[in-house]
């Protein structure tokens, strides 16, 4: 069994190849390069280095979002097209859970966050030992979410590539309960995409769509206007 794992949901690019119980190769690039340009060449190169031809792949694993809308779509488009073309199963996993896996075995809770602008974040909360979700993945005002996290009275490990943007607010709100991942543990890993996706059932490839966790601005405005006129 050979799995290809892909995560392009935020600015880092994370890909990996796992054969049976062996991580063959893994690559994380954090250079803020356009995924549309670089994801396929990176996959092509990774597979060439590992000496694996496309038709040797047996499974595709992908981070389904949330994250940058465009980023999530690039990874998912590549993953579903590969899975469909090669007639192999597609497995999807929350992009937040992929980050949470960096804090696995932490004695407490793990809180992955991604910046979503204007003081908002995409965030989730996971049990450190099991990576079971404690609170659902969501798009939220950061302070509002932190209040909910704090009320659980447990130590919390924060992670995510954008953590530095929100570190001060988190310290203010959480005090001593907050721990922060070291920088290498704030980036997604392709191997974690695969290991987590292995636990999920295969998706319906043709109908696989990103988990945006937020409606579009156009729809939000449209709904608001409709409510206003009702």
């Amino acid at each position: 069994m050979i799995y290809l794992g892909i995560d392009t949901s935020n600015s880092p690019l994370a890909i990996a190849l796992i054969q049976d119980q062996t991580v063959l190769m893994e690559e994380t690039v954090n250079l803020k390069i356009n995924h549309s340009l670089t994801a396929m060449p990176a996959i092509e190169e990774l597979m060439a280095k590992a000496g694996i031809a496309p038709d040797q792949l047996t499974h595709i694993a992908v981070a389904e979002g949330p994250g940058s809308y465009t980023g999530v779509r690039i990874g998912l488009t590549i993953a579903k097209t590969l899975a469909w073309s090669l007639k192999i199963p597609l497995h999807m996993v929350s992009s937040l859970k992929v980050l949470a896996a960096n804090g696995q075995f932490f004695d407490g809770l793990v809180c992955p966050i991604m910046d979503a602008r204007r003081g908002t974040v995409f965030c989730g909360l996971y049990e450190g030992k099991s990576l079971e979700p404690v609170l659902d993945d969501r798009h939220s005002d950061l302070k509002k979410f932190l209040a909910e996290v704090k009320s659980l009275n447990k130590p919390v490990l924060f992670t995510g590539a954008d953590l530095s943007i929100h570190e001060n607010v988190i310290r203010e709100e959480m005090g001593d309960a907050a721990c922060f991942s070291t920088i290498q543990n704030r980036l997604p890993r392709g191997s974690n995409v695969i290991l987590l996706a292995q636990q999920s059932e295969a998706a319906d490839v043709h109908h696989a769509v990103p988990e945006y966790r937020r409606i579009t601005e156009a729809e939000a405005n449209y709904n608001k206007a409709k409510e206003g006129s009702a």
Binding site: N34, S36, L37, T38, A39, M40, P41, I43, E44, P54, D55, Y69, T70, R73, I74, L76, T77, I78, K80, T81, L82, W84, S85, L86, V205, H206, H207, V209, P210, Y212, T216, E217, A218, E219, Y222
Partner: protein, 340 residues
Amino acid sequence: MNKDKYVLGIETSCDETAASIVKNGTEIISNVVASQIESHMRFGGVVPEIASRHHVEQITIIIAEALSRAGMEPKELDAVAVTEGPGLVGALLIGVNAAKAFAFAHQLPLIGVHHIAGHIYANRLEQEMEFPLLALVISGGHTELVYMREHGDFEVIGETRDDAAGEAYDKVARTLNLPYPGGPHIDRLAQSSDAAVKFPRVWLEEGSYDFSFSGLKSSVLNYMHNAAQRGEEVKPEHVAAGFQNSVVEVVTAKTMRAAEEYGVRQVIAAGGVAANKGLRTSLEAGFKKQGVPFYIPSLALCTDNAAMIAAAGTVMFEKGIRSNMAMNGRPGMEMTSWNK
């Protein structure tokens, strides 16, 4: 005899998710288009983020449908051609990344196609091209006159300096409270009108093949505004006819003058607005008088589709042009010749 060439085309530059298989660049084997018009209608225009969300939902379904309607397996294909630009960036890159992944999975050659070149080559699916040739590409996104000496040679001799013709149609339609997309409604009203408001013709400087439609659009808006202030009733069909007459007269005259100056052997029209009855009738009459063969593809090939991308891609494929895995969607892609 050379072996037949089968090319898969993929097009996602705006609000249609499309895939098609074309044989030898001239014969449609299958042509599938999923239009999103209904989702965008309530917003009165295409919302880029929503277009991108639809493309990712549809893309593999549409490609699979194109293969199954053709009764073909991917291994029977010779190449994959995809719209590289111009268009909406988020929309383009769904097609581009799907094409890259598909080409990689099946180890097929990949070709990035310019959307306008695609519109021009749509004609070749119904009528062989004769050079030198003049193409009028007129749609919601483009208004261009392109001169071609031979396959793959493009010289843009005129283009719009502001709005595309189709954009002006949509905006005028909105002020007349016609539903989106407005072009066909204006065309229908204009056809049935017994009179026309006199709006200006925008010729720009002498000899120019460029177009400008924003001034005409403003004239229409001013006319509506003034009539409303005076409490006069406006007959929408008179406004539609006046607007359409101005567009048709200028576009026909410039296209005819270019055809004459460049001494072309064939004139072709392409793009959604080329399906407009008023424009079609005027161009047909003009070129009949001028004695130059003139063609417009059928409606399904005028609007965005993937057969046109496969048709252009086939000619590029035969010229040995290839893209690689680093191809990106290019929203502002320039039209460059590939014959050099």
